[in-house]
Symmetry: C2
Subunit: 261 residues, 2 copies
C-alpha cells in the first residue's frame, strides 16, 4: 500500500491535492469546495489540519471562504489599463481616462472625491524635488466599477504649483480636468515617469478596496513633468486581481492596424 511515503506535512498534502483538482477543473471557478468536515474525513486528518491547508490556498489567492457558506474557487476577471498614452490631448470632457475606459468597456464607473491640504511625505517630496514636510495639496479619489471597489488614487501637488493654479486646493471636481486646467495656466506636462510595484495590502488598503486575503495590490506611481520640472505625483493603488497595466513602446502599427481578434 502507498501508506505514508510522504515527507511533506499533511496540511500541505491537502493543499496540493486541492490545488491539483482546481487546476484540473474538478472544481471550476465559482464552485464550492467540500466542507471542512468532509475534507477531514477524506484526508483522514483533523479539522484543524484541513483548515491549515485551506488557509494556504486562501493566502495564495486561489480560493475564498465565507462564514456559513463554505469555500469557493475564485474567478478571475481582469480589467485592462492603457497607461502609455498621454493624458492631456483629445479627451472629450470631464475628467480622466478612467471614466472613458470603464464606460467603453460597458461597465458603470463611480467615484468619490476628497481634497486635503497636508504636508509632503518623504517619498513624494523626493520625486517632486521639494522639501519633505512642505505644504502640499492632496486630491484623493476612490473609484468603483459596477459598485465594486477598484482603485484609490492620491495626487500630491506642490505648494508653488497651487499658488499658480489655486483651484487645485478647492474641494470638488475640476470640471475640465486637472490636466487641462493646469495647461490653461501655462503648466503643460510633456513627460511622465512611471513606477510600478506590488506588495500585499496594508489593513487600510484592504478595507478601502475590500480585498480579501491572498490578493496583492498593484502600485502605479506617475510623476508628471513640464519642460522645466516635476509638477505632480499620482499614486494609484489597484486591486491586483482585477487589473492589468498595458504600455505601448515604439511603433506598434502592425498590432493596431489589423484588429484581427
Amino acid at each position: 500500500m502507498m501508506g505514508s511515503m510522504s515527507k511533506q506535512p499533511k496540511y500541505q498534502q491537502v493543499a496540493d491535492a486541492l490545488r491539483r483538482e482546481i487546476d484540473k477543473g474538478t472544481y471550476g471557478p465559482g464552485s464550492r469546495l467540500p466542507s471542512e468536515a468532509e475534507l477531514a474525513a477524506r484526508f483522514e486528518a483533523s479539522r484543524n489540519t484541513v483548515r491549515s491547508g485551506l488557509g494556504l490556498l486562501v493566502s495564495q489567492g486561489l480560493i475564498t471562504s465565507s462564514q456559513g457558506l463554505g469555500y469557493e474557487v475564485r474567478k478571475h476577471e481582469i480589467f485592462e489599463l492603457n497607461a502609455s498614452r498621454f493624458e492631456n490631448l483629445n479627451f472629450p470632457q470631464n475628467g480622466d481616462a478612467y471614466s472613458t475606459d470603464v464606460t467603453n468597456a460597458g461597465r458603470r464607473p463611480h467615484q468619490t472625491f476628497r481634497v486635503e491640504v497636508t504636508t509632503m511625505p518623504e517619498d513624494i517630496a523626493q520625486r517632486l524635488r521639494v522639501e519633505t514636510g512642505s505644504r502640499a495639496v492632496l486630491r484623493f479619489c476612490h473609484r468603483f466599477v459596477d459598485d465594486v471597489p477598484w482603485s484609490t488614487q492620491a495626487t500630491h501637488y506642490p505648494d508653488w504649483l497651487v499658488r499658480e493654479a489655486p483651484r487645485l486646493a478647492e474641494p470638488g471636481d475640476v470640471a475640465e480636468g486637472t490636466t487641462r486646467y493646469l495647461a490653461s495656466h501655462g503648466i503643460e506636462q510633456i513627460g511622465y515617469a512611471d513606477e510600478i510595484a506590488t506588495r500585499m495590502p496594508t489593513p487600510d488598503e484592504a478595507r478601502l478596496l475590500e480585498i480579501g486575503p491572498g490578493v496583492p495590490v498593484l502600485l502605479w506611481t506617475r510623476t508628471g513633468y513640464t519642460a522645466e520640472r516635476p509638477v505632480r505625483c499620482t499614486i494609484t493603488t489597484f486591486r491586483g486581481d482585477l487589473n492589468r497595466m498595458n504600455y505601448e513602446i515604439g511603433d506598434l502599427s502592425a498590432r493596431n492596424e489589423n484588429d484581427a481578434q
Copy 2:
C-alpha cells in the same frame, strides 16, 4: 478599566499591535520579535492565538519566521528596472539589459539557460497570432543577483521565425544577443506591447524564486513587433518584494538633465 471594549478577535488585536510597533520603529527592519511564548504572556492569549496573529503579518509580507530562530521584521531592498528603453540599440556586447543593469548597480549577475522545443500555450499564441499548440521554441532563463533568485524569463518564438533564424532553437546563449541576431536576419523589432500584472506565486514559482509566504510576483509580458507582425513574447516573473518597473513617457529632459539626487 479598559477591559474588553474590543469587537475585534484577539488574534487581530495581536497583529495590529505588532504592526503598529513595527511601523513606529520599535522593531526595526531585520530585528527579531519576542518569542511566541513571550507574546502569549504579554497579550494574555494562548500560543495558538498569538500564532494566528503572527501568521497574518507573515502572509502580509511584513515579517518572516524561521524554525528555531524566531520571527524577523522583513527588510526591503528594491531593484529598479527601466523597461521603456529599446533593447536593440547600443548595448556593448553579450546579451541583455539585465546583466548591464545589475553590473551598473554594483551587484553580481548570474543566470542559467535552457532551450526547449515545445508547443504554443493559448495565451502566448493569441499574442503572437499563431495557432494554439503549434510548434514553438522556448528559451528559459533563471536569473540571480548576488546569488539571490531574482526572476525567471520565458520567451516563446513562433515556428515560422525559428525557420528563418535557426540558431534560436540551439541550446546555449546566442553570443551577440537574440535581438541583434534577429536583426541580422532581417527581423527588426520596432515596437513592444507590455502588460504588467501581479498575483500570488504558484508553488513552482515560489520554489524557483525562493519566495516566502506573503510575497507576490510581478508579471511582465512583453510582445515584440516588427513592422509587419508580432515575433516573440517574453514573460518575466519577478519577486515582487525586490523589483520595481520604471517607464518613461514623453519628454523627460527636465528629469534627466539635472541629476539632483
